[in-house]
Subunit: 348 residues, 2 copies
């Protein structure tokens, strides 16, 4: 089926913005405003214009590509995976929507450093600002944004932020500390940790919290039980199998992310190790799915939606030329105890 | 810290596009193209311009909000939840990115019919097109897009699509049929189904497939075992508890989505019912997490990323004025058998 040509006007000629304006006795800009979804037209006029557009089967001749757009921010993930991203997207989208700002989503294909082609698309789009999740810009790229007056905020930095780059994160060190302290206080003495990638700042902070809890309680850390994963299920599974296959296997694993905890639960199931009776497991993030796992996951709650909303508001403030003070915000994390942790088995 | 004012130029006056162009012996439009991330500038010129911008600490005076943008499509979810959305987003984003198109993400706050405020934002943005996921436009809203020459495609329709609206979906009826046939062929005679909301087309199609499989094998359907959920974990849990609390409880549940299957697994765990020994469970979607569940989920694979990519290409074709033929595409679904299904318990 091809589209029928517009034939609605009385004279047989296609309706134009001008002919519709004349018919209704309103100005051409008024019809144009309605077409462009502008708010500064009365409801009554708006409704009359819409009715006339429909009556005449008005069609805008050409769709002017990229001619205009409402204000947008760019939200950039290094990789879209798992429900973790959904929490961030939700927080950003709601805050942006409240501010009347649209959200453009992009992904760096797994790289933590954007490619120039991505940056070119951003420059062409001229967003209000860029929100980078777990990613970092090279100094030259940072400058490219600055020179176009496109501010950026980093959410959950993957490394030591440079200069005065605004960042929003949560207290990863405290998260690692509270998860590990919980396990040690339950009586576990062989506790393993599977953190995220070693080159990502929050992974290292969680491991440092893990070590601090050991220091606090005077328990030695076995280096063989300290692992760096990938925050994904696979990494949790792989390290989980490896740790649990050891003759001196740990009685508890702090899994570094809920996804990795799911991988550890799988590894334990395959080896016939009961959680929590024979193995305690702590996740990280407290994604909605965590409480539904079997057993429901004890995990470190990270306020992802709130972090994302704060970063979004910060970005829009910067875009308006306001000073953001302080430029670095860190929200608190806290432990949520559910079913996956208990005292160590008596024979351990 | 406040921003330092630009003072890079030799004369002490802030650098302008014109002064930089003059210094480099290139045209003003060339400098402007580099600033806007346009591709039609040689790599060498581009690099010279960037160096000069940086040397002079050039800053664009005002960020012209919404003045220009690359081509965009609008991706609209009725609600952002679970890893199901991530699969769709991935498919859309990759296809859009290959076509040099950005993706604006929005959400209708749980409603399947967009509000006018959302539509106004879209009209103001003038995207290439709109991709609606499990949502439907009122006739008047449909017309509002058509009159602005903004095409739209519906992914996984929630209802009978009207007129010649292009749609991309998958064969839900066949999915329901193959899931149920698998359970009946294993010997189950009391099979329950928890589908999605009753007013969503794909939910009804899955239930019809469930009935057809029963007809095929001459097994009567007990109406008490036919349920409509919400595709979310909670719905699966609630109906799962209710079904499994019955004295004549089913020996198998086709859970309608992987999320609902997670809820059913939880309900079974709470009641001490072993899956699959005492209860077989089939999911739907085959999200990445399905294979990691305990037990790994038997589920109906729905090619969500592929559906999303096809819908995106269709939308961009329509935006280019091409005819899309056929305007309705349905991809195949297939059953993936894992660990959550087996023969019914002998005492059932």
């Amino acid at each position: 089926m091809t589209t029928t040509s517009p034939t609605g006007s009385a004279s047989g000629a296609p309706a134009t913005i001008a002919s519709i304006a004349a018919e209704l006795g309103v100005s051409v800009p008024t019809v144009s405003k309605v077409l462009n979804g502008r708010a500064d037209v009365s409801a009554e006029t708006r409704s009359r214009v819409e009715t006339a557009l429909q009556k005449h089967q008005y069609r805008r001749r050409t769709q002017a590509v990229g001619q205009r757009s409402g204000p947008l921010i760019d939200l950039v993930f290094h990789e879209l995976d798992s429900a973790w991203c959904i929490e961030i997207i939700k927080g950003v989208r709601r805050a942006a929507s409240d501010l009347g700002v649209g959200t453009v989503l992009s992904e760096l294909g797994g790289r933590h450093r954007p490619q120039q082609s991505w940056l070119d698309a951003v420059l062409a789009r001229r967003p209000l600002g860029v929100l980078l999740v777990l990613s970092r810009l090279e100094a030259a790229q940072q400058y490219q944004l600055e020179s176009r007056s496109i501010p950026f905020v980093v959410l959950d930095t993957d490394g030591e932020p440079q200069g005065d780059v605004p960042t929003v994160g949560s207290n990863n060190w405290l998260g690692g500390l509270s998860a590990t302290r919980h396990l040690l206080e339950l009586g576990h003495r062989r506790v393993a940790v599977i953190s995220g990638p070693a080159d990502v700042l929050c992974s290292r902070a969680r491991i440092d919290g893990f070590r601090s809890a050991h220091d606090e309680l005077g328990v030695a850390v076995d280096p063989a039980l300290v692992r760096y994963g990938d925050f994904a299920v696979e990494g949790g599974y792989r390290h989980g199998r490896d740790l649990l296959d050891r003759p001196d296997r740990p009685t508890a694993i702090f899994a570094g992310s809920d996804m990795q905890a799911i991988g550890v639960l799988r590894a334990a199931r395959e080896l016939g190790i009961d959680v929590p009776r024979e193995l305690s497991v702590v996740g990280y993030d407290d994604l909605p799915v965590a409480e539904w796992m079997g057993p429901a996951l004890t995990t470190v709650h990270q306020p992802l939606q709130q972090m994302a909303a704060i970063a979004t508001r910060m970005l829009v403030d910067l875009a308006r030329g306001e000073t953001v003070d302080p430029p670095r915000i860190e929200l608190q994390t806290h432990l949520v105890v559910r079913e996956s942790t208990t005292v160590p088995p008596t024979n351990a």
